[in-house]
Symmetry: C2
């Protein structure tokens, strides 16, 4: 019963059906923010969004409050809600913290994972590889790849017994995904991720913690460069989706 504290309505990503309208709106909103449908800094007016998401005003407010603690939405005093702004500094922070959390998780996972876990790692890698092959052909492959990439990273650390580390990993992954989607908006496939995933998968199954963490660290840090070399308009334009008053 110990992990029940983290298996709350906010955590479950896939699988489970939303049991309430609040939870449903929360997930759709979260997805749309991560995918950039609601760009950073955009004002989230309840009156407009209630039609778009087909729920009442109160329900929508509850969903927004859930996103506030996830740091995907900011609530400003009595001036409504807004999609959390982005900045290079913030992404550097997210990335470095992610390295700290995710390498520790991987280390524990490698130390404690059983054969079944190894199998799941290989399976997730295989599914990801297949999606990578299809990336150039089909248009819908991008969504598949995003999903399978997330699952691959989650499965890697799934043998880590710490619910809290997994919780934080999910939050940070979602945050960084928001930045990656922006940087990938133009450049379709940025770099040779397949080779990195291959190395990561091999080292993990070989139970070589140091090597696996080294690869994972470089893998995560490389996305930082992608955002660094992103045209500055993205970051600046995104900071004020609506007017931001001078305070």
């Amino acid at each position: 019963m110990s992990d029940a504290a983290l298996h709350h309505a906010a955590a479950p990503d896939a699988a489970m059906e939303p049991k309430t309208l609040v939870e449903g709106a929360y997930r759709r909103l979260r997805r749309n923010i991560v995918e950039g449908v609601h760009p950073p800094g955009e004002k989230l007016r309840v009156e407009h969004l209630k039609e778009q998401y087909d729920v009442g005003a109160g329900t929508l407010r509850e969903a927004l409050q859930l996103l506030v603690t996830d740091a995907l939405v900011v609530a400003q005093g009595q001036r409504g809600f807004r999609v959390a702004p982005i900045s290079l500094k913030d992404f550097e922070d997210i990335t470095r913290t992610r390295v700290l959390i995710e390498t520790e998780a991987l280390r524990q996972s490698i130390a404690l994972g059983d054969d079944d876990w190894e199998g799941r790692v290989l399976a997730a890698f295989h599914r990801l590889s297949r999606a990578e092959e299809r990336l150039d052909d089909e248009a819908s492959a991008r969504e598949d790849w995003e999903e399978r990439n997330r699952v691959f990273h989650e499965v890697l650390i799934s043998a880590c017994p710490s619910r809290w580390i997994q919780h934080f990993q999910q939050i940070l992954y979602r945050q960084s995904e928001r930045y990656r989607r922006l940087s990938l908006f133009r450049n379709p496939i940025p770099r040779d991720v397949h080779a990195e995933h291959q190395l990561l998968c091999d080292a993990t199954v070989a139970r070589d913690s140091d090597a696996a963490c080294k690869v994972l660290t470089e893998h995560i840090l490389r996305t930082l460069d992608a955002v660094r070399h992103m045209p500055t308009e993205f970051l600046n334009a995104a900071e004020n989706g609506s007017k931001v008053r001078p305070a």
Copy 2:
């Protein structure tokens, strides 16, 4: 502007006045849960709590949703809210994750802190020491000590530039405080914390990262023993504040 994402309605602890009824109810609820006024597992019925906190049902629900993502409250499908249950396993997880986060934060703080930060560390330590002296005499000293202990730990890592690490530290500290309050319910002053704080303060100001982190790790881990040696009734009784149906 990067840290705006974490300076949302959920983060600010002291200082700022609550700008909305939701935020006010959120803070009072959080405090009462951490302090054990609402014991772990207790059913949080909106109809009853709206009178106690003097707000409408919708407002209270929004405050509860904020606590959900903080993992202090769990929302169960369509069966209302409940104070997050506790368990020894969960506390072990919290403690170990806290060591990971807080030592990294301290390391960065020592590496980057300026003279002003050193001064704040010494000041916080002094205030804490004074409160410790008064612990046996006055009855209200307990609350003072709790507050100053929290501030001391926060100031220690305040020079860490990562907003995310500080955010996670706050969440975990709050969680562990919940357990400590329970274990301190009977035994008034458990151990010689003053000497530990002294060592921690000295090593930090001396810029000895390894020594400071070592002391901090032992300091945090020691609270684990306090809970381990807690009468089991606490943990079990707390798990079902109201009836927990067998699923």
